[in-house]
């Protein structure tokens, strides 16, 4: 993907809760993200921010009823969740799931190998994987303390969020969607996570940051800021829009 070309194009996206077709959450959403960019999606609680993130990853809890999502020129909505991941879409969960009995390192290697296989690359054995992991940890400046613990099991809120970013570092997504990665983090943890995300930025990838607060955007500086309300993007602007929102609140803009 060339820097500057459109990576993600969402047009007229409508989605309902899968178990309740009358409960429409996304009501005709448009968004265009270019390679190399960071976009922030802000909005009040219940506006549909997390639903947008979940729909992009293919979460079965939501049904898309109208609109298109084109990713890399392909129809993203046609793809199963694992195909999206293999094609480079990554969702950092707001509430990462604990998987008992499976170590983080095994999980990461399984995921990376599934993606490598899809790309036609050789799968990594445990030793090769370890060296990839060490490189990544060095890149984001973290230690390996939670690699041999079960995935997110007994992790603190901050550790879970860091673990999502570690997965992102290892899986090298083309499009990363961070769903309220800042929630529940103290300022030091927030900085650590933001620094890691910044270290992973590349001109051929893009990041969509979903957040309720402007705070994170002091550290991950967005190219574009969008306000999501009532299931639609109601306003878009540069990074200064985030500051304006912080000052005036969502009602003021």
């Amino acid at each position: 993907m060339n820097p500057g070309s459109v990576l993600l194009e969402i047009k007229g996206l409508r989605a309902t809760v899968a178990t309740d077709a009358k409960k429409e959450i996304l009501k005709g959403l448009d968004l265009s993200v270019r390679a190399g960019e960071v976009h922030a999606i802000m909005g009040p609680n219940g506006s549909g921010k997390s639903t947008l993130a979940a729909v992009l990853a293919g979460h079965p809890a939501y049904t898309v009823t109208a609109g298109t999502v084109t990713y890399h020129g392909k129809d993203l909505l046609e793809m199963a969740p694992e195909e999206r991941a293999r094609e480079g879409v990554f969702l950092a969960f707001q509430y990462p799931v604990a998987i008992r009995g499976i170590t983080n390192s095994y999980f990461l290697r399984s995921a990376l190998n599934a993606i490598r296989k899809h790309r036609g690359q050789e799968e990594l054995d445990p030793l090769d994987f370890l060296s990839v992991l060490e490189t990544k940890l060095k890149q984001i400046g973290w230690d390996d303390s939670f690699l041999n613990r079960a995935v997110n099991d007994g992790f603190s809120g901050g550790e879970k969020k860091r673990n999502e970013i570690l997965q992102m570092a290892v899986l090298e997504p083309t499009l990363a969607v961070l769903d309220e990665t800042d929630s529940g983090l103290d300022i030091d943890a927030l900085k650590t996570v933001a620094e890691a995300v910044n270290a992973l930025r590349r001109p051929d990838t893009a990041t969509v940051v979903v957040t309720h607060y402007q705070r994170l955007l002091n550290y991950i500086v967005p190219d574009r800021v969008h306000v999501l309300a009532g299931g639609q993007i109601v306003k878009s602007g540069g990074k200064e829009l985030a500051l304006e929102l912080e000052e005036k609140g969502y009602v003021g803009v």
Partner: protein, 382 residues
């Protein structure tokens, strides 16, 4: 040996009195043993393989070598009146595998006892094990009940475990008999002061299996880990009844039983915890998780807490249901196929019990077996 004849006679008398249990009895409500009660069994031959890996200073043997230890302990813990099958097994008591570790002796390598039922036609066997650890002794014992081939059989097994003061035993029992076999087992342990018993019972085989695990914390400060794992499918039925008896103060018990039930398999868990009057500062935790991989699989879970002391901490919890949809999506969102995600989550559920086994080579062996069952590739530490 008069004491032995007398023990057999007591077993026979008790069984003659009560006969086979029926589903009208509370303890057997979910487990119908009619297929066993109505079959006629010939006398089977117990084939034991015993491997102590050349460990010195312990006594492993049968009644001729270990008669004194056997006389002192055999039949004193497994209550004939608690379970008709214990009475039946005692009536037919034949050979006994005795593992006796003298006081203050540490046996580093695992002692492996492996049983296979032999004989002609439909046979019953009564494999009997007695494990006695003297004060401050330490050992690991692995008791395995192997597949005896594709034929109807009944293994009616009784194991008694006696831990002296300050003794530590890691005990793993694996049942992987054939699908036409019935496996009925009693494991009864008795712990002295400050002793530690870490017990894991694994049920993979047998069409019908029932395992009653009883543990008495008979000395202050004793600690018990009573874990179990069932991985069954087809029309397998597995029933675990556990009874933890906190008879003395300052003891702790941690119980975790996980069951994986696929196809038409059926699981029963009954976890009884008794805290006797005066058993203050008891710390007891019981967890039973049941994973149902098909709509036809079924599991019943019953905690049974009887607390007669007032300064205690007792918790229990049970879960029952299919794999968590959010967890499946989480794995898929990282590029894993739905099938891989399912196997991995199921493995993780089983591994939650396996990873608690302290003895690495034993844990790794079982890990391989379980992975084979669930179709999960090598989990070599990355």
């Amino acid at each position: 040996m008069n004491w032995l004849t007398e023990l057999r006679e007591r077993g026979a008398a008790r069984f003659a009195e009560v006969g086979f249990p029926t589903t009208r009895q509370e303890a057997w409500r979910f487990t119908d043993v009619r297929p066993v009660a109505e079959a006629s069994f010939g006398k089977g031959v117990s084939r034991w393989t015993v491997d102590a890996n050349g460990a010195q200073g312990l006594l492993i043997g049968d009644l001729t070598r270990a008669g004194d230890v056997a006389q002192a302990h055999l039949g004193r813990y497994a209550d004939l009146t608690a379970n008709p099958f214990t009475a039946l097994a005692t009536a037919f008591l034949d050979e006994v595998q005795v593992v006796s570790i003298p006081a203050r002796t540490e046996v580093a390598t695992p002692i492996r006892l492996s049983h296979r039922l032999d004989g002609t036609g439909v046979v019953m066997g009564t494999p009997r094990v007695l494990i006695v650890l003297g004060d401050q002794a330490r050992a690991t014992v692995i008791e395995t009940h192997e597949d005896s081939g594709d034929r109807a059989s009944l293994s009616n097994s009784v194991t008694e475990i006696v831990l002296g003061n300050g003794a530590t035993l890691d005990y793993v029992r694996v049942q992987r008999e054939g699908m036409r076999a019935s496996h009925i087992a009693t494991t009864q342990s008795h712990q002295g002061r400050d002793s530690v018993l870490r017990s894991t019972s694994i049920a993979l085989g047998a069409g019908l299996s029932r395992h009653d695990l009883g543990a008495v914390l008979a000395g202050t400060g004793a600690s018990l880990t009573l874990n179990g794992l069932s991985v069954v499918s087809g029309r397998q039925h597995v029933d675990y009844h556990t009874t933890i008896d906190h008879a003395q103060p300052h003891c702790e018990s941690h119980e975790l039983f996980n069951g994986v039930f696929d196809q038409h398999a059926r699981g029963v868990f009954n976890g009884r915890i008794i805290v006797r009057p005066g058993a203050q500062r008891t710390d007891s935790k019981q967890t039973n998780n049941n994973l149902l991989l098909s709509g036809e699989a079924r599991a019943d879970s019953q905690p049974q807490l009887e607390i007669y002391a007032d300064d205690v901490k007792c918790t229990h919890g049970a879960t029952l249901g299919p794999l968590d949809a959010t967890a499946l999506f989480y794995l898929e969102s990282r590029g894993l196929s739905p099938q891989t995600a399912k196997s991995l989550l199921t493995y993780g559920f089983a591994a939650d019990v396996l990873t608690r086994i302290a003895v690495a080579p034993v844990r790794d062996d079982l890990d391989r077996v379980i992975r084979g069952r669930l179709g999960v590739e090598t989990l070599a530490a990355a």
